[in-house]
Symmetry: C2
Amino acid sequence: MNALKTWAAPHRAAVEAALGGLFHDAWPAPFGAMCRYPLLTGGKRIRPLFAFAAYEAVSGTPDDRDGAMAAALAVELIHTYSLVHDDLPCMDDDDERRGKPTVHIEYGENNAVLVGDALLTEAFRVLARASAPAAEVRLRLVEELSAASGYLGMIGGQARDVGVGGPVTEADDLIGLHDRKTGQLIRSAGRMGALCGGADESQLAALTDYAEAVGLAFQLADDLLDLDEDTDEPSFPKLLGVEATRERCAALSARAQAAVAGFERAEPLRMLARYTIERTI
Amino acid sequence: MNALKTWAAPHRAAVEAALGGLFHDAWPAPFGAMCRYPLLTGGKRIRPLFAFAAYEAVSGTPDDRDGAMAAALAVELIHTYSLVHDDLPCMDDDDERRGKPTVHIEYGENNAVLVGDALLTEAFRVLARASAPAAEVRLRLVEELSAASGYLGMIGGQARDVGVGGPVTEADDLIGLHDRKTGQLIRSAGRMGALCGGADESQLAALTDYAEAVGLAFQLADDLLDLDEDTDEPSFPKLLGVEATRERCAALSARAQAAVAGFERAEPLRMLARYTIERTI
């Protein structure tokens, strides 16, 4: 993991700094601190890293990354808002996240709803105000992100997860759920980074294939890590069996690596795929 | 009001039809019906009407209004999501809106959070996917709407309204609250409509002045209508006195009419200002 850490460290530091710079002009002022609270609790910033890795894979200019940074921040804002709303008492009812009180515990449930709404909205403002890429590409980023995080993507997956459409009893249904709940945002991180780097449609298709495999494998791997947990939640090991889940995870890993074989600077993508998947197989 | 109704009727019908066409491709399918439920409860569509009126004031082509329609839908999606989240038990805890059960009563609190998130996100997708205006202008619409509805605008006003920053005891503070909570979205509706019509910066400034006056007057008028209500909420009649509130409302009305005096096709804007303000003075 050392090569991955070495590559990721400056990107992570830049993301932390940029996130810490948000919401300082809030009115009323204390609301700005409430919005920064869930953003600065030491997440792994996996989605921003996918954006930077995809950007670098298609672009020869890793230093000129203003557009990729905007994409990275927007995706992290969306991810963070989804956690804030997910933690609410009417959703997962979680009191702690990463060892700290969740937003509704710290600031009250009404403010947690508003903080989530503010982070969501700010994601699109960040894209609209970015200095790069060109306006037409930034508009496409808005479309990518709103599709991946909206009712066709993340929110649809969450609705399915809280029971809309009935219980999940089939592996294909669970794949559909996770593809939307977590997969599409990871995929859009990669696609947005690649678009910022000037990817053509064939590069974009390869990265989409890569990210789809990684996103699903991420969930399979998570389910394998949670094997010992006693829960009623549907999971891939329960629906497919442990061995078949492991095999499918390995196949997805191979598919992800093959998808980016044609890129010259794909080592960060390859490392991220390995980190995401191979921690469990 | 007959001239206003005659002008508004086809716009309203078009907005209803367009809103009714949203979310039909949802997964899981029942979630699409949940998202349409709060959109189709017979609102007055005031914000879309401001967008169309501003569009017509600056554009000679009232029939080619695809861009203005996208702006109108986006603003109405934002307005509707804010009602869904406002009605939640942790916010205003309202069981009914427009004579029907609120979303969390009808579908549960968790789904109401998700429906609000979905409507918010879809507002930006509608702008990104619109066939008009040009990409650069649509990106500016994304920036306008995200600023007006985010932590610098509507959400900031709501945070102040639920008590962030302490109690509201001064008229200026209450003006700041309402300017953000309701004024900015109304203003952005007008500005976005005007941008779709190709407004230059001086036209945009005049419309902004108009909409700022109308937005604030709307709230003063609301407070005057609610005079008899026995509540602890701060209000302009309480902080300024009834007569001074009436006078300020009349001054804002005059300011709104003066701001659009230079437009040739401003009759819809003039009628909307009269409707908004003069119902109470």
